[in-house]
């Protein structure tokens, strides 16, 4: 009973404002086929309210799509005897495999730092390093490096102004998923904000799956690796023989 009360209290400020977000994605399944070159997801929706919109409070929408979080090890190169050598690994406790955020205004003009911390939306809060080994002089450099590397690979990016708001009610955004996508259940969150405070959140998952040939090859490689290895060799030998026979016939 006490727990339920606590939960109600927690939800209270959300419910009290009375404004909700209704949203939909153009697709909640992404199929990785042989010709997969990335995917574009169209996000659209509206705010739902009983009373007229408060005129003095700025409406903002933040769309965040994140891949499954996982630990990542980073190494820093050091110069030893004139050669650059990898140092000891430092583990980043949690980092999403993909991080794409679109906002209606510059990020912290749309969302307060407090709510950013609470919902872990901003990149700074999405990549976490809790406890680094004692010998690490600057743990945050590792975290920053991971964000930099993933940003350069096109896996992490923020589109400020990527959400269009129409008539203080409707909104739309396009989220570009890169070609370097891995399988997993991706999380899409759409935040409704007024005066930088989160009023409501819409959650949905995007299931990223390999299909067809891609799925079959991956399954063979992991589940029947013996057969897969032998088949790989057989394919190689056949191709070698075909080329040899072909050239002998046409270009003796």
């Amino acid at each position: 009973m006490r727990r339920l009360l606590a939960l109600l209290l927690l939800l209270w400020p959300l419910a009290a404002e009375g404004e909700e977000v209704v949203a939909a994605l153009s697709q909640t399944r992404v199929a990785i086929t042989t010709g997969f070159t990335g995917s574009e997801i169209f996000v659209f929706g509206a705010t739902k309210r009983e009373e007229p919109a408060p005129a003095d409070q700025q409406l903002d929408i933040v769309v965040a799509v994140t891949g499954p979080p996982e630990p990542v090890k980073l190494r820093k190169k050091e110069r030893v005897a004139g050669i650059w050598i990898n140092g000891e690994a430092v583990q980043i406790d949690s980092a999403p495999s993909l991080y794409v955020v679109a906002t209606s205004r510059p990020f912290h003009e749309a969302m307060s730092f407090t709510d950013d911390l609470r919902y872990k939306v901003g990149l700074e809060n999405a990549v976490r390093l809790i406890d680094a080994p004692l010998w690490v002089e600057d743990p945050d450099a590792y975290r920053q490096a991971l964000m930099r590397i993933r940003r350069d690979e096109g896996l992490y990016f923020v589109k400020e102004g990527g959400v269009d708001i129409i008539e203080d009610t409707l909104f739309r955004a396009t989220i570009d998923l890169p070609a370097k996508l891995t399988e997993g259940d991706y999380l899409a969150r759409i935040f409704l904000l007024r005066d930088r405070q989160v009023l409501d959140v819409f959650h949905t998952s995007i299931l990223v799956r390999k299909v067809g040939l891609e799925r079959w090859i991956y399954w063979m490689a992991t589940e029947m690796s013996w057969l897969y290895g032998l088949l790989s060799i057989a394919v190689a030998l056949t191709a070698g023989w075909l080329a040899s026979a072909f050239f002998r016939y046409f270009l003796p």
């Binding site: 390999k210 490689a221 050239f247 270009l251």
Partner: protein
Amino acid sequence: MNIYLPIAEMSVNALLLLGLGGGVGLLSGLFGVGGGFLMTPLLMLIGIPPAVAVATEANQIVASSFSGVLAHWRRKTVDVKMGLVLLSGGLVGSFFGVRIFAALREMGQSELMVSLCYVVFLGIVGGLMLIESVNAMRRSRKGTRRKPRGSRHTWIHGLPFKMRFRQSNLYISAIPPFLVGLLVGVLAAIMGVGGGFVMVPAMIYLLGMATTVVVGTSLFQIMFVTGFTTLTHAIVNQTVDAVLAVLLLVGGVVGTQIGVRLGPKLRAEQLRILLALLVLVVCFVLAWGLVARPDELFSIDPGVGH
């Protein structure tokens, strides 16, 4: 034209890979090298994870070397007996090499060791080949002929287990070819290559084999060792990417066939200088990568994540 690789989990340009396969296959047919020493670094350069690059490259070399072996077989330029002795050493070497590589990966130093191995071996082999072939060209210009190598007596001829290798025009102990095969097997597993660039010079300069059968015999041994490596990687690491392999080997087998036909039309000494220069260029590029300050000091360890 982009294509998604199921094991590497990334999208790449199919035409680029076909071209890479073709170019490297051409060298394979010309010189009797697997071409892995060029392909593996190139694949890593376009962003393929090193473990996938190494394993898949082994699979591709099976195709290009088989295609080459067939062509040499018809011309009767494969010394099967010598090939089998080299192969027995190669399988033993590959077995240990895989374990060494696994230990290095654990320490996060596999990349460094691979680069160091490349620099050292490519440097030695390329340098020796260049000196040797330049000297040979000078001699042939002067009109003097080099003494046939088979008649020279060295310590190698004093070893036991002598065998007659008719096609190689040799009567030597089985120990040196076994050891050469062993060394190449270890290198093949650690560096993700066939090892032809070490074996071909070793066969010519160390064993003194007749040059006509060197390329065919080298390809014969490489085919089996890389087949063994492919299977090991597929079972242990599951890093063989079938789509990537097919793209590479389609280009590769075609390139090899052209190379094999082009080879006899070119002059052997010039060919060897060309290969020596190529080996030295790759060596220099990798050495530069070791000493130059990298743009990004940090790297993501591929050991975890999946």
